[in-house]
């Protein structure tokens, strides 16, 4: 069981850890760093529950080994809200518009949506649906999620 030193930035904070080489990034985030907001739904890159932002791009963390993240700049759901007392507009709209039920897919979808809105601040409903098509939700039927993202886009544009 060999290990490597990994240094990376997550949610603006630097971490340095020794990690087993075959350890998946999801497990490193959750077990080694206690960032349990990123969820494991399949471990084969389909469900999107493990989505994080890697240098601003939405990526499936279950398909990356932690050692590969050396030097990377990551964002997880824990880094989405601007502070402990405020919510990101996406989180606010999801709350107002019932965009979540069990919450298991939610972190992955929030980050995917954030990446979408950075690249495309005024997406159509079709574009929103397409961008979250790689995130499975078993509870909501997606309608409220799409509406929440659309409303968040409007709110963010208004600022």
């Amino acid at each position: 069981m060999s290990t490597r030193q990994v240094r990376l930035t997550i949610n603006g904070r630097e971490y340095s850890r020794e990690v087993e080489i075959r350890k998946l990034l999801t497990d490193f985030l959750r077990d080694d760093l206690g960032l349990t907001g990123t969820h494991v739904g399949c471990e084969h890159g389909v469900c999107g529950a493990c989505t994080i932002l890697w240098n601003g791009e939405a990526v499936r963390s279950c398909l990356v080994f932690a050692v590969q993240a050396n030097g990377a700049n990551l964002k997880t759901v824990e880094g989405l809200a601007p502070s402990a007392t405020e919510l990101h507009p996406l989180q606010k709209k999801f709350w107002e518009l019932h965009g979540l039920q069990c919450g298991f897919c939610t972190p992955g979808i929030l980050l995917t949506a954030e990446a979408l809105l950075k690249e495309n601040p005024d997406p159509s409903e079709e574009e929103i649906r397409e961008s979250i098509s790689g995130n499975l939700c078993r509870c909501t039927g997606y309608q409220n999620i799409v509406t929440a993202i659309r409303e968040a886009a409007k709110a963010m544009a208004a600022k």
């Binding site: 471990e43 469900c47 019932h98 078993r138």
Partner: protein, 774 residues
């Protein structure tokens, strides 16, 4: 402002949105180690030998358990759906002499990490002697088929009939008799979070704690106590945040015994998180039913009789649900229609596949598909509009309450409703007449555009009772201890709304505690759309008792008659004299033992209530689907969709709509995409999300109308609610199958509506060999 009826934001959401929810996999205990289950790779085999020597020697492995290490293992009992005979094919937590499905647990490995545990799994050598495999229910019943359980001949542990009226006479009086075979495919709940448990045994105190149980916490508490030989008072089950259930999560599975047992055996806290590959083989599957059905009608479409035989494919063992999907199907097969003569012969059949339990609208999604498809087929034959055929036979408002008649397991009386009025409204809202002409016009252009209807009656609010305790704490906050569970459906918010209204407090001052056996002594859990109905009603009862106590305490303190006092904003106030008031915190202080006992008053502000009912309320509704099918590729596009359901009363309309929308997505998955396929050796073919296809945001209909109404509150509970959890999925298979049949001019007889199958139906291809068994 009343909370009931308003779109209150959910109390659960903030932690889930911030990623600070605590699901079972997020729980860490000091010294915690990890378990992995060795599962059978054979669908049917005798276990000759298990050699764990190499695996045990692997560094990091703490130990391995096989059946030999657990003498006196009991079979997991049924908690419901008892049909005589089903007890003969129950499952022990670990296979002893034989395995009966790929995925059957054979051993438990405990190691320092899940990675190492999986390494160890590969080193365990099991010698299997392969036995004959049977994967088709028909084949399984035949003489000479491989026998799965010693005491169950023909692999048929149970058989029951429903017989209402005089079917044979009714057929003699029919103008047309139609017979057809229908089948629905194996699919299941597949929640996004897999199963998991963390178990920790405090040896010094003899106290076992298990995080993870949900849905039927108290039932499982009792089963676990019995299986471990530990009193319930020494076992503490705690429900964490849960990633969806839909019927499959929270039943007592083999692992619900094995992981706690292992934590005691190895004296270490143990974490077991199922991976997706296991989940698709080991979590309850459902929906596989085959019908041979005969209907007799008059020329004008009046239904005279319905007669059917149904095979319920159970998988390799009886699970905690017993025969529930079969019983439920048999109860609802006639739907919202007046069918006085009805006969059904149900066979529960074992096959070498994953065992079966319930999945949202169990047996009813299947039965609705069969009946609604049959009705359309009759309509086509009689050259009647399918809507007209339904109008003719729908139970009228003046016939309610409508007794469904004799049944071996339940006596259902449809309580309230106006099915025809709702039906007309649905047709109008989707502009049914225009859709029919659009469809005809499209067909002339060679486009396959179709509309399909599915009507349903849903069961909800099952009893027999539910528990609630309401307490006012030292800060004046109100705590509800409820016997229900949360799978993510927002029940804590809904219950808070109910309690907040009863006690006139802010919803922010209400907390709901559930799923914790140390805090809630009794409960019947959350299944079958019962939570708001049963837990809500119990919460009402307990709240009203607390209100009495508050008034009593305030009366003594203010020296004003209770009749002249009322509740407002977390205080008791004197009518007309607002400065004469006591806050809940003040009253809680007065209720402390020191003061209370001196006054001869029972200390504390805490009241329990049980709400009991053996009569269910029945929500009812209509699904209408509009589809276009590409005749060259068989790809189905859902252009428009309408679901209407009467739920009696909506505690939180936003939550109700969410339930319907989520159910619809699952219903679409069941109609078009999801299937657990097995090959002839019983090897599961859909063991990843690449093969088990759950709908994405792109598979939802282009436009959706959700109409949930409060036309007929039920008289069966103080809230008037009917459970809204299953209407969204209930007739989706039916409506989509009817729409596709209409679009292509064919008669669909099975689900799923695969592109392959559709091209075969229209004669564009002929498939030589079929991979799946139906």
């Amino acid at each position: 402002m009343a909370y009931i009826g308003s779109r209150v934001k959910r109390k659960e959401d903030l932690r889930l949105l911030r990623g600070t929810g605590k699901y079972v996999a997020d729980i860490h205990r000091v010294g915690m180690v990890h378990a992995a289950i060795l599962r059978s790779t054979y669908a049917h085999a005798r276990i000759v030998k298990i050699d764990t020597t190499a695996a045990t020697k692997l560094p990091g492995v703490i130990g391995i358990l096989t059946a030999a290490d657990i003498p006196g293992m009991k079979t997991i009992p049924m908690r419901t759906g008892h049909i005589d005979g089903l007890e003969r094919s129950q499952q022990t937590p670990l296979a002893t002499t034989a395995v009966r499905y790929v995925g059957d647990p054979v051993a438990v490995v405990v190691a320092e990490s899940r990675y190492l545990a999986e390494d160890a799994l590969e080193l365990i050598e099991v010698e299997y002697e392969a036995l004959g495999v049977v994967t088709d229910a028909h084949e399984s019943m035949r003489a000479g088929a491989p026998q799965l359980h010693e005491t169950v001949p023909n692999n048929t542990p149970a058989n029951f009939q429903v017989n209402v009226g005089d079917v044979d006479a009714a057929f003699r009086n029919s103008d047309l008799i139609l017979e057809e075979e229908f089948s629905t495919q194996r699919h299941a709940a597949v929640p996004l979070e897999t199963r998991g448990l963390v178990a920790e045994f405090d040896e010094g105190r003899g106290q076992l704690t298990v995080w993870g149980p949900t849905k039927m916490t108290h039932t499982n508490w009792s089963i676990l106590s019995d299986h471990l030989g530990l009193p319930q008072s020494s076992i503490h089950l705690i429900e964490p945040d849960v990633g969806g259930g839909f019927g499959a999560r929270g039943e007592f599975y083999p692992e619900d015994f094995l992981i706690p047992f292992a934590s005691i055996h190895f004296s270490r806290p143990i974490c077991w998180i199922e991976d997706r590959s296991e989940n698709l083989k080991a979590m309850n599957q459902s929906r596989q039913q085959k019908y041979q059905i005969k209907i007799g009608v008059k020329k004008d479409g009046t239904i005279m009789a319905l007669d059917a035989e149904m095979l319920f494919d159970m998988g390799g063992y009886t699970r905690t649900h017993g025969g529930t999907p079969a019983i439920s199907a048999s109860s609802i097969l006639r739907g919202p229609y007046r069918i006085k003569n009805y006969r059904l012969n149900v066979f529960c059949v074992l096959t070498n596949k994953t065992p079966v339990g319930t999945y949202r609208s169990p047996g009813r999604y299947e039965a609705n598909f069969v009946r609604e498809r049959l009705l359309d087929t009759v309509a086509h034959r009689l050259e009647l509009d399918p809507a007209d055929l339904r109008r003719r036979n729908m139970i009228r408002h003046d016939e309610m309450p409508y007794d469904l008649g004799k049944h071996p397991f339940n006596s259902w009386v449809l309580d309230t409703g106006d099915y025809p009025a709702q039906f007309e409204n649905a047709l109008a809202r989707i502009n049914y007449e225009k859709l029919k002409s659009d469809s005809a016009a499209a067909k002339k252009e060679g486009r396959a555009l179709g509309v399909g209807i599915g009507c349903f009656v849903e069961s909800s609010g099952i009893g027999p009772w539910e528990y609630a305790r309401v307490e006012v704490d030292n800060t004046g906050q109100v705590i509800l201890y409820s016997g229900c569970n949360s799978l993510g459906q927002g029940i804590a918010t809904a219950l808070s709304q109910i309690v907040a209204d009863e006690l006139q407090v802010s919803i922010d001052d209400v907390r709901v505690i559930h799923g914790d056996t140390a805090k809630v002594p009794y409960g019947n859990g959350s299944n079958a759309s019962r939570s708001v109905v049963m837990a809500g009603s119990a919460a009402v009862g307990a709240s009203r008792k607390v209100k009495e106590k508050l008034l009593q305490l305030a009366s003594a303190a203010l020296e004003i008659e209770p009749g002249d006092l009322f509740l407002r904003d977390g205080r008791v106030v004197a009518r007309g004299v607002p400065e004469r008031t006591q806050g809940f915190a003040d009253l809680a202080r007065l209720a402390l033992p020191g003061t209370a006992l001196k006054q001869g008053v029972t200390p504390g502000i805490s009241e329990e209530d049980f709400f009991a009912s053996d009569k269910r309320p029945f929500p009812y509704g209509v699904h209408i689907a509009v589809v276009e099918v590409d005749r060259a590729t068989g790809i189905v596009k859902i252009l428009d969709y309408l679901v209407t359901e009467d739920v009696g009363r909506k505690i939180n309309p936003m939550i109700v709509e969410g339930q319907v929308m989520g159910g619809l997505a699952q219903g679409i998955g069941g109609a078009l995409l999801e299937e657990f396929v097995y090959d002839n050796d019983g090897q599961p073919q859909a063991t990843s999300f690449m093969d088990y296809l759950i709908p994405t945001a792109m598979e939802m209909p282009k436009t959706i109308q959700l109409i949930s109404t409060e036309d007929f509150p039920t008289p069966l509970n103080p809230l008037g609610v009917k459970g809204a959890g299953e209407g969204g999925i209930s007739a989706a298979g039916a409506a989509l199958a009817n729409a596709v049949s209409n679009a292509l001019g064919v008669e669909v007889t099975k689900l799923p509506l695969k592109p392959d199958y559709l091209l075969e139906l229209i004669g564009r291809i002929k498939v030589e060999s079929h991979q799946e068994n139906a």
